[in-house]
Amino acid sequence: MHIPDGFVSTELSVAAFAISGLAAAVSLKKAGKDLGEKQVPLLGVTAAFVFAAQMMNFPVLGGTSGHFMGAVLASVLLGPLNAFIVMLLVLSIQCFGFADGGLTALGLNVFNMGFIGGVIGYCIFRGILAVSGKSKTGYAFAVGAASWLSIVLVSSVCAFEIALSGTAPLKVVLPAMAGVHALIGFGEAVITVSVVSLVAGVRPDMLHTRIAEAQA
């Protein structure tokens, strides 16, 4: 879902840089508060895992592939502001180091995957958890559903940006993006639930949103 150079208009790119830059400034200032002492190295590990897992494209169908995004994983582990920082870091290194995602689209990619995926994804997670979170199963359901929704939502936002730029009509690009990503989202949900369950089993104190918190 990394937008390359050339798909979006200059106006939209500039606006996204402004918004993402502002969000980055706020997150860098405030996110430390969300970070437990033990979670300091966890932020590095989460970012490393997101980077590595994003390299791992899995085939979807009809000659398409998808890869893990990791925004909801990061927000469940570290909270929304730190999730934004994880995505900002991963996307910046991918863009500058590995030519993945266009430089002109970096602001948009950070907005899409960091803000929509990480921050809005976290709100969706907490929203579902408020209804489902009375048990481990309810917690896992909230993680999985939010992961799936984050992929469909980010891909839809991406479609809007492409349409807004005049690159392709919305009625074509929105169903196409949301459709493919509805499938990719299942991969996202499986990976996120697996990793969160593993962490919850071994080190529940590492979770930003604890299972017990939902029970309270």
Partner: protein, 103 residues
């Protein structure tokens, strides 16, 4: 030591994925590329890049003949770089907010 163990294991898992699994990643176009191809605007991104100084373009270490090794090496370096920068950044953020509550 136990908490250190968790972090170390997490990093090793990430490195293992980057080194051993990424060479087997699907080379099919991703969702966005596929839609761009089907809809007919993929050409807009071709032959133009705003940033051309990436040391490891497209996750293939330049100068390594074997493509699987080139990808594995790119994954190793990228994952380590992300970990180091992320850890350092988190330390800086935490020290700036030393009075912060845990989690």
């Amino acid at each position: 030591m136990k908490k250190f163990g968790f972090v170390t294991i997490g990093l090793l898992v990430a490195l293992a994925i980057a080194i051993f699994a990424s060479p087997f990643a699907s080379s099919f176009p991703d969702g966005l590329e596929w839609v761009a191809e089907q809809t007919g605007f993929l050409h807009l991104s071709e032959g133009y890049a705003a940033w051309t100084k990436s040391p490891v373009p497209d996750y293939e270490m330049p100068g390594v003949g074997n493509p699987a090794a080139a990808t594995a090496l790119a994954g190793l370096i990228g994952t380590l770089a992300v970990f180091i920068v992320g850890f350092g950044l988190a330390k800086l953020m935490k020290s700036g907010k030393s009075g912060g509550s845990a989690a």
